[in-house]
Amino acid sequence: MLEIEIDLYSGRPNPRVTLAPATAVELSRRLAALPPSPAIGANEPGLGYRGLLVTGLPEAAELRIAAGQVTLRDPAGHASARTDPDRALEYWLIETISAAAPSKLPPELRDALIR
């Protein structure tokens, strides 16, 4: 089951959305097409939108998509990173979440994340 946590709040709990299996397949396809990134980002952003945390993909125990970079820990525990040019994967996933669960990610919030 593909679950996305939109990592953005400090006081309130972050929104979590469960997406259809077909979205998981498409996400895996897009993920595999991304070029590797030379460095794994170490900086953790503070207040405001921090990225998307993905669970439920067979190839990734942990996956964070944020600010043009994808960091991944595979089921064996190995960490790697890929580049997300123009944040295309991140924005596609935000649009997908907003369309599938508008109550969790209403248009106003979606626009705040994408701008």
């Binding site: 990592d7 953005l8 709040y9 400090s10 006081g11 309130r12 709990p13 972050n14 953790e44 952003p45 503070g46 207040l47 405001g48 939108y49 921090r50 209403p106 106003e108 919030l109 979606r110 626009d111 705040a112 994340l113």
Partner: protein
């Protein structure tokens, strides 16, 4: 058997007890033997008044043979104690419940809950200081003071910045938010203002978040708490008003002079969104949290959930 003596009193004999349960004694000694660098051979002479340390001593030849010099010794406490030293001390103090008083401690306080609470409080106190918070003194937060009218001085507590407590354990880090951090109360519930008193906020505005926080027991700044409400931390509330992005956030003033905070399930820190150490939460880089709602005091009896 293992003997524990708490080096705390000046005039009265120190409390002391024996951990008679072999398994518990071995478990404690094993833990201490792993932290050998923290142990001293004897008490220091400059420990001062209050909780100074713990003396640990195996009372059987088997334990002495198995752990001996690797475990027996003196754990220094007091204001300079590290988080790990306090953790070890808490672990030992918990053994007091099942401990048997020693002959030497016959004149000391009985090994009852009040003594244990007193010692736990002493441990807690070591990492924080009390300070005055005056409305008449120019401070980064001076404009708040100006609105109060006649000068008011409240006593508050400032805790040492200890991000490891919130960050090292993934569960603690993920399940405690800015309100937990500001209140310095780990609940693992991602605490929400007003939930503790049964009237959680119904909108994220300064007015409604203030109402919910006061309902939990907080006071506005310069509405002083008595000493019985220690620790009384100075905290600041901000709000992200939207559009779209609507949330609240808290900061807590630390002993070192800067402010600490914990953005949601991420790491506790003392820097703002520009990476600068936070000296003034009303002017630091807060990203979308553009509304500064004001300063408050937390307190011991605060309800938080």
């Amino acid at each position: 058997m293992l003997q524990v003596t708490v080096d705390v009193f000046s005039g009265r004999p120190n409390p002391s007890w024996v951990v008679a349960d072999e398994a518990e004694a071995r478990s404690l000694l094993r833990e201490f033997s792993r932290e050998r660098p923290l142990m001293a051979a004897a008490p220091t002479q400059d420990g001062g008044l209050g909780l100074r340390g713990l003396q640990i001593e195996p009372l059987s030849d088997e334990l002495d043979k198995d752990f001996g010099q690797a475990a027996a010794g003196y754990l220094r406490l007091g204001p300079q104690a590290t988080g790990r030293e306090r953790e070890l001390a808490e672990r030992v103090l918990a053994s007091m419940d099942q401990g048997l008083p020693t002959a030497a401690s016959a004149e000391a306080l009985p090994l009852e809950t009040p003594l244990q609470e007193f010692l736990a409080q002493q441990l807690e106190v070591g990492s924080r200081v009390s300070a005055t918070d005056s409305s008449g003194i120019a401070a980064p937060e001076a404009e708040e003071a100006a609105a109060v009218g006649p000068a008011v001085t409240c006593m508050i507590e400032l805790g040492a910045f200890n991000p490891g407590f919130w960050n090292n354990d993934p569960t603690t880090r993920a399940r405690n938010n800015c309100y937990n951090y500001a209140s310095n109360k780990r609940t693992n519930t991602f605490a929400q203002p007003g939930k503790g008193c049964g009237r959680m906020y119904t909108a994220i505005t300064c007015a409604e978040m203030t109402r919910a926080s006061l309902c939990d027991g907080l006071h506005r700044r310069f509405d002083c708490f008595p000493d019985s409400e220690k620790p009384r931390y100075l905290v600041a509330l901000v709000v992200a008003p939207g559009p779209g992005f609507v949330d609240f956030h808290w900061y807590r003033k630390q002993k070192e002079g800067f402010w600490g905070h914990k953005p949601g399930g991420t790491a506790a820190r003392n820097t703002d969104n520009s990476g600068r150490v936070i000296m003034d939460p009303s002017t630091c880089d807060r990203g979308p949290y553009t509304l500064f709602c004001g300063y408050f005091y937390t307190c011991r009896s605060q309800r938080i959930a």
